[in-house]
Symmetry: C2
Subunit: 218 residues, 2 copies
């Protein structure tokens, strides 16, 4: 199994395969061909085979794939066979929602604590996660082997928090702050820029509106 | 200005340009060359020029770009010169956080109401946004010319809500439910799959860990 040089585009498609396979598994489906999967997922069968070939192909095409094996194997590739420890930084509305959301849905991702600079927020709990003052962050990360920092602070605060994080043993940042973070190569960053997503939607609305005007529908 | 056939990759980069230009503008920068912008944004100058050429180029390269004009123009392309009316569907933790987050940060995107099936949530307010029973959704969308439905319901409920939405005049769905929505062509969908994003992070952590083991760092 060789996944050293796999493109981020292929990686980006794995969670979707995982999701569909999880559904098929729950429905009791045991085997599925790339053609059948193609029909359900709205991707060409050749794309599916190409994607899977990056990971050794996952078994014979003629018989189809074993759904459960494929699900487990993609889960393993995605690192979902391990527990990932997390901290939240920024215990505002979005941060609180993320703690509740992740805790509810992802058994393998565990929030161990939250951190904030606002004394009105510290000392409280979000679900069963305690909120501590930001000063305690570095010590907590290293004492508890925290892997992932979830950054839900205002954009003005993001650079300062990043500077703290790079001096800890943190492995990854799930970044909701509306800035691009510059971090050393050994820290993985995944951005969720909600603003940017909303702007893309707004762009597509505008284009569609203009098309309708041009084609005389309005 | 011809933006009919512009790739989603280019569109996906526009919000980032808009963000950096907004910052430069706040700092009082009046003109910037593609080289300077390249240095700040960590994109090649040729990529920037190619992207901008899709929209007519935005002025002469020799003199650099006028920051304010470019900011306004990209904003217009992104449809940010108009007000976008929104409803939230699913007033749980994530939905509430989205109302607070968007209301705070995006002046052009206005939540007019939220909808839920849970009587414990309806009749309340999220910030200054009222929460109504889901039955009132179609009537509300059409009476208030709502453009965007923000879908923050559990995945099991998403298909039913989508079926309601496609019979209204809604233009777009900002989808946080962990399913792919099949909608008619004239409804724009932008997915924010938080799970998928977390899985990509987990994949990159695993690969980095394995690299370190291989290279003898651990």
């Amino acid at each position: 199994m060789e996944d050293r040089s796999i493109s981020q585009a292929v990686i980006g498609r794995l969670p979707r395969y995982y999701r569909y396979l999880g559904d098929l598994r729950s429905e009791g489906v045991e085997r599925i061909s790339s053609q059948e999967l193609s029909g359900i997922m709205n991707v060409t069968a050749s794309q599916i085979r190409q994607d899977f070939n990056n990971f050794g192909g996952f078994g014979q095409q003629g018989y189809g794939y074993n759904v459960n094996t494929l699900y487990q194997e993609i889960g393993r590739i995605l690192g979902l066979d391990k527990i990932h420890t997390m901290v939240l930084i920024g215990a505002g509305n979005l941060g609180q929602a993320l703690v509740n959301y992740v805790s509810l849905k992802n058994r393998g991702f565990i929030f161990k604590a939250a951190f904030d600079t606002d004394p009105k927020r510290t000392g409280r709990m979000i679900a069963d996660v305690p909120v501590y003052p930001l000063e305690r962050l570095p010590e907590f990360i290293d004492a508890n082997n925290i892997e992932i920092a979830v950054l839900a602070v205002p954009r003005g605060a993001a650079a300062d928090v990043k500077d703290i994080l790079v001096h800890t043993g943190i492995k990854a940042i799930w970044n909701f702050a509306h800035v691009d973070l510059e971090v050393p190569e050994d820290i993985q960053v995944e951005n969720v820029h909600l603003h940017d997503s909303l702007m893309k939607l707004s762009y597509n609305i505008r284009c569609h509106d203009e098309e309708e005007v041009k084609s005389g529908k309005r």
